[in-house]
Symmetry: C2
Subunit: 145 residues, 2 copies
DNA sequence: TATTGTTATACTCTATAACTATA
DNA sequence: TATAGTTATAGAGTATAACAATA
């Protein structure tokens, strides 16, 4: 059987752990878990409100987890939930001003960590890494079905 | 701030999820969590018994999590714990024959999934991916400190 | 009837501290 | 005193099912 060190899930996990190890302390200072940060990042990414389903897809969090997390983030005043204009079943989740401020406080430190990682790679290598990772995540560009 | 889609942790998570989504059902059939499988894989990798600390490092699991998991795997007859020959504080954890059989049952299906992923890449591309991932996980080969 | 989101429930893992046994 | 591992405890996420409201 393939060696543990040559397992793709393990290689991805190791790489992710190495990156997150530098970043988690920053989140912890602000009382945020990795998953909560994913939600805030996904919300900060777009100016329009997003449904719970959209957030679920983008953050790889399940609906029930998200429901509870959004309630907690709402209690902290970081996000706001409203009913979607076109479909009353849907939620319209967005960052509050305070939530956006928090993201903007954390973002520069995140960028600094990122640049220190970037320096370890030759020009173009990181692009190549992104290209290979997205090929893993979505086979379609290579082998359309 | 960097787009969510261009976040390295997210790209790694997406890639890992895509790979694990194909593999988790196989584990579930055998009543194994992803983390338990990591432990079994780490044990299957070497013929000599490993200490809890070694397993912790290799699987990215915390000591307390491992202690409980090893107790559960021991109850299922998949692993055995003994006292280390040289140092009575240390444990000597190894797969039982049944544990090895289980790994050998699952391994071929895991390999099949792996080969179907491999087919999506040109020769050498996957080597390049491993190289870039290991650079992320360990900067030393590039920039010795 | 199907879909969106929430609530309920049980389980697993994370994380830290306290403890035991051994070195 | 320090180290290896376990136990205790609290909290967060995973996963599935059941449910309410809306389409």
């Amino acid at each position: 059987m393939r060696e543990f060190g040559r397992s793709l899930p393990m290689a991805l996990l190791r790489a992710r752990e190495a990156v997150m190890r530098r970043f988690r302390p920053i989140l912890a200072e602000h009382g945020l878990t990795e998953q909560q940060w994913r939600v805030l990042r996904a919300l900060a990414d777009s100016d329009v409100a997003q449904s719970v389903g959209e957030l679920s897809t983008r953050t790889f969090l399940l609906g029930p987890s998200l429901s509870r997390m959004l309630a907690a983030l709402e209690r902290r005043g970081l996000v706001a939930r409203a009913v979607h204009a076109d479909d009353a079943r849907r939620a319209a989740v967005r960052l509050t001003a305070g939530g956006r401020r928090l993201v903007e406080t954390i973002a520069p430190r995140s960028e600094a960590e990122y640049r220190s990682i970037e320096r370890r790679f030759a020009p173009g290598e990181l692009d190549e890494l992104y290209r290979l990772l997205s090929r893993l995540a979505d086979p379609r560009p290579v082998d359309p079905v």
